[in-house]
């Protein structure tokens, strides 16, 4: 573990050195496995937030879930210098390789794999390919606040907006998403099951073909 930094009051970003090139694609995840002295294990998947850069380091942002066995341990116990068992990268569907138009729609912690995609676009000079719309409840709950919003990234607040915001707080609607839709783009939706369902319905209602939408639902996987 290289470093642990607070992202929000309930989310931390864990920077890990794998000791080998990460080899990940934007959108993929790694498995973190904890092993107790009696051999008991608990594993969970966490999306990579950092862009592929050829290095051996990755960043995983982990939301602390209520009663979360693994997320709670990571938040309360893990410090820089610790050894963790990880496996990955995993997944070949919810990935973006930085060469085709992409619309990214995330809710809350669902922004994590989309951030890897946005960071890849920015670091490779292809921000023109990407539009990101992130929905969060309040400013305090926004991940990566140093990097969001941006020219190609919009933040929508559903419960309370920052002072001076032109858009009042309210749930994600067609008005928020429509300007980001472009024909031919692959759409990546990530968030809770409820968010993913609502966002997918919204996109389909705006004419996005269901076959162009890739969905990753974050379950209560602890």
């Amino acid at each position: 573990m290289v470093s642990v930094t607070a992202e929000t009051p309930t989310a931390k970003t864990f920077r890990l050195d794998l000791g080998r090139p990460s080899g990940h694609r934007a959108g993929q995840h790694f498995i973190v496995r904890l092993t107790a002295p009696d051999g008991y294990t608990a594993s969970r998947s966490y999306s990579v937030a950092s862009a592929p850069d050829g290095s051996s380091e990755i960043e995983l942002t982990v939301e602390r879930l209520e009663d979360g066995e693994v997320s709670g341990f990571l938040h309360d116990e893990v410090v820089a210098g610790d050894q963790l068992e990880v496996r990955g990268p995993i997944g070949g569907w919810f990935v973006w390789d930085g060469e085709t138009p992409a619309l990214l729609v995330g809710g809350g912690s669902g922004v994590v794999p989309l951030m890897a995609m946005l960071r890849l676009a920015r670091s490779s000079g292809r921000s023109d390919l990407v539009r990101l719309v992130v929905s969060v409840r309040t400013p305090a709950e926004l991940y990566y606040a140093d990097e969001l919003p941006g020219p190609e990234a919009e933040v929508v607040y559903t419960r309370s907006a920052p002072p001076g915001a032109s858009r009042p707080a309210g749930r994600l609607s067609g008005v928020d998403v429509a300007p980001a839709i472009r024909p031919g783009a692959t759409t990546y939706v990530c968030g809770s099951a409820a968010f993913a369902g609502a966002a997918s319905d919204l996109l389909v209602g705006l004419g996005v073909p269901p076959t162009a939408i890739r969905v990753e639902r974050f379950g209560p996987t602890g």
Binding site: L34, T35, P37, R44, E69, A193, I213, V215, P220, T221
Partner: protein, 203 residues
Amino acid sequence: MSIFTRGFRGRGSAERDPRLPPGQYDAGTRWPVLTAEVTPRLDTATWTFKVEGLVDQPTTWTWDEIHALPPSAYAGDIHCVTTWSRLGVTFGGVSVDTLLAVARPAATASHVMAFSHTGYTTNLPLADVTGGKAWVVWEADGGTLATDHGGPARLLVPHLYFWKSAKWVAGLRLMDHDEPGFWEVNGYHDRGDPWLEQRYQGD
């Protein structure tokens, strides 16, 4: 690699339910929704289920026709590769054995590709969907199977990880060879036995 995690003791490992395969936890009454596609709205008036490929009698059932077959139920556990399990759940529908008895697999058939109305696919050895091990179900926990969980009907193969239990299932194609389905192309195991922790290719 087998290392102990500094400071991790686990919780309740002494009382671990023997029904839980390794690496799984009990999700209790929660039933997480994990799907890679947009949830479809399927109309049972036009819904069909097909058995095709290497069979003597390729067959298509409508919603009413499949309901007229002898019912079959499952009561037991289900295991998702993302590490949640649900214990003591019930499903109702029809046994895959009943469907295959009508379609009659050819002697050369060794595997099936389950396919969904969304285009989702997953591959299984024929032996894993015969002998009372697989169902097409439209009831769960005593009620109608919800759309988020694959309704109006899904495949149920509860002895394998749950991505094999294709949601919104549209049919089975019998084949004389194995070939990877949607998640299997994307790094997941071809068989997916939770007791052997066959989560990813290479396990």
